[in-house]
């Protein structure tokens, strides 16, 4: 195995790995979700809201997949191959070293992409779907917003320009995604300290999904929590996590769940006092417009 990793690897191997991950990711997740449901049932915590919320999670997944296939499938893959063949500074060989490097950089790209999704109006309009569940289980990992598949390209395309073969990039993205999916559980408490120090864990990711004030905009990491520790966005799980977003949407209607972020974004654009302010709502952090309007109100009262 080590020999394979350290020498040139057949492109077909990466393709096979990526296909395997793609095919089995959902099946493995469903198995774990079934296990979670069993534990919840045994603990007599099962309720209709949890069932409705979980069903909605999978419906948003189909909405996301539908939109992704319609608008992105060919564009997404073509963009990576165009960047790799026409814009790259080199073309790195298909080796285990390349894969290892690509996973690290794809994870770093995921950190920034994730931070972008939380700290811009357009990002949050789509990503809020994932965070709006008051529950926290594997099915929440499949709760996607309308353009969750579009924005990450901005952060991952540079990898192709650095010379990573798109196949390796897609495989790395799949590995980060698989790892991320497995973090959505309340069943696993804390892991041994060295693991908690380096890797993202269910505990760290519960914090990320928390609406407690001290947990807001923390723990963006995919696989390595060291990115959050390094960039000052880390928070430890101490207080019991309250899941969901402010304000809570209190609905299990998949249509409302899927589009509520964009309803709110367009609502904010209408509230804006100027065209430039309406445009800035897309790129400024969520809540920016409210603070702007409040400041203006205070100014007008004091004048």
């Amino acid at each position: 195995m080590l020999e394979t990793i350290l020498t040139q690897v057949d492109e077909n191997i990466f393709y096979a790995w990526e296909s395997w991950l793609g095919d089995w990711l959902f099946v493995i997740s469903l198995g774990l979700f079934a296990l979670e449901l069993l534990v919840v049932t045994l603990r007599k915590q099962m309720n209709w809201r949890l069932i409705g919320d979980s069903v909605s999670n999978f419906i948003t997944l189909y909405g996301y997949l539908g939109l992704s296939y319609l608008f992105l499938a060919t564009f997404y893959v073509s963009a990576f191959y165009f960047a790799y063949t026409q814009l790259s500074i080199t073309q790195l060989p298909l080796t285990g070293w390349t894969l290892a490097g690509c996973i690290i950089l794809a994870d770093l790209a995921y950190y920034w992409e994730h931070r972008f999704m939380h700290r811009t109006g357009i990002g949050w309009a789509t990503h809020t779907v994932h965070h709006s569940s008051p529950e926290f289980n594997i099915s929440v990992a499949y709760r996607f917003g309308p353009i969750d598949g579009l924005l990450p390209i901005l952060f991952h395309l540079p990898l192709a320009m650095l010379g990573f073969n798109p196949l390796i990039i897609f495989l790395s993205e799949a590995i980060v995604q698989l790892y991320q999916t497995m973090l959505h559980t309340k069943l696993v408490k804390k892991l041994p300290a060295p693991i908690e120090a380096i890797f993202n864990t269910p505990s760290h990711h519960r914090v990320h999904h928390g609406r407690n004030r001290q947990y807001l905009d923390k723990n963006y990491a995919g696989i390595f929590i060291i990115w959050d520790r390094l960039f000052g966005t880390f928070a430890k799980e101490e207080e019991t996590v309250k899941f969901g977003v402010y304000p809570q949407i209190k609905s299990v209607n998949p249509f409302i769940i899927f589009f509520h972020g964009f309803f709110k974004l367009f609502q904010q654009m209408r509230q804006a006092n100027s065209f430039s302010q309406a445009c800035l709502v897309w790129v400024k952090p969520p809540g920016w417009l409210d603070s702007q309007l409040n400041t203006q109100q205070v100014k007008s009262k004091t004048q």
Binding site: T7, Q8, V9, T85, W97, I104, L105, W112, F231, G232
Partner: protein
């Protein structure tokens, strides 16, 4: 951490990881230890230094989709490229494994892949397509897709393959030069072609 500093640290991490990966590709790879029975193929591979009289290639560029190859590689100086390529070529074609495989097929394509490591060294590989040969004695040779321009057209003879090296654009350093040798099942050279992928 402030945003500008965070971005600077990110750029630094990207630089370190990328450099590490890039450094791995220029490390010399080991040659395979294939058995060497009596010489079956007398065809001499063409490999000359790039410091030859040059002229621009006017033919239209053509992209090659990635080839899956297996073979053997060695690091070489430009000055000794020809000898290294010949050594690899004969080691490769003289292996028992290869000769046995030849009995079952009508013809086979051998490739010589020259990768520029820097302005002093080349990594040279002799390889065939994976479907034609058991992989046990050989390593995989990755050949990325890219903009490959023809140096010698299909159907070229040995002399034309050798002359093709003179058509390299001296102003541009190449990434890869790929030579194809088509052989029959007696090991006789039929024809070949070559491509270049510039930096």
């Amino acid at each position: 951490m402030k945003m500008p500093l965070s971005l600077a640290v990110t750029a630094l991490i990207v630089g370190v990881v990328w450099s590490t990966v890039w450094a791995q590709q220029i490390m010399p790879s080991s040659t395979a230890t294939a058995a060497m029975p009596s010489a079956k193929i007398e065809t001499q591979p063409a490999a000359q230094t790039v410091s030859k009289p040059l002229s621009n290639v006017s033919q239209q560029s053509k992209a090659i989709v990635s080839l899956s190859l297996v073979g053997i590689s060695s690091l070489s100086n430009y000055e000794s490229a020809e000898q290294t390529a010949q050594k690899l070529f004969s080691k490769f074609t003289e292996s028992t494994n290869f000769v046995n495989q030849l009995k079952d097929i009508e013809q086979i394509n051998i490739y010589l892949v020259y990768r520029a490591v820097n302005n002093k060294q080349l990594q040279i590989s002799a390889a065939v397509e994976t479907k034609n040969l058991k992989k046990s004695h050989f390593e995989s040779i990755g050949l990325a897709a890219g903009d490959y321009q023809p140096l010698a057209k299909k159907g070229s003879n040995t002399q034309q393959l050798i002359n093709a090296w003179q058509h390299l654009d001296k102003q541009r350093m190449f990434k890869i030069v790929l030579e194809n040798y088509r052989l029959d099942n007696q090991g006789n050279f039929i024809d070949g072609y070559s491509f270049v992928n510039y930096q």
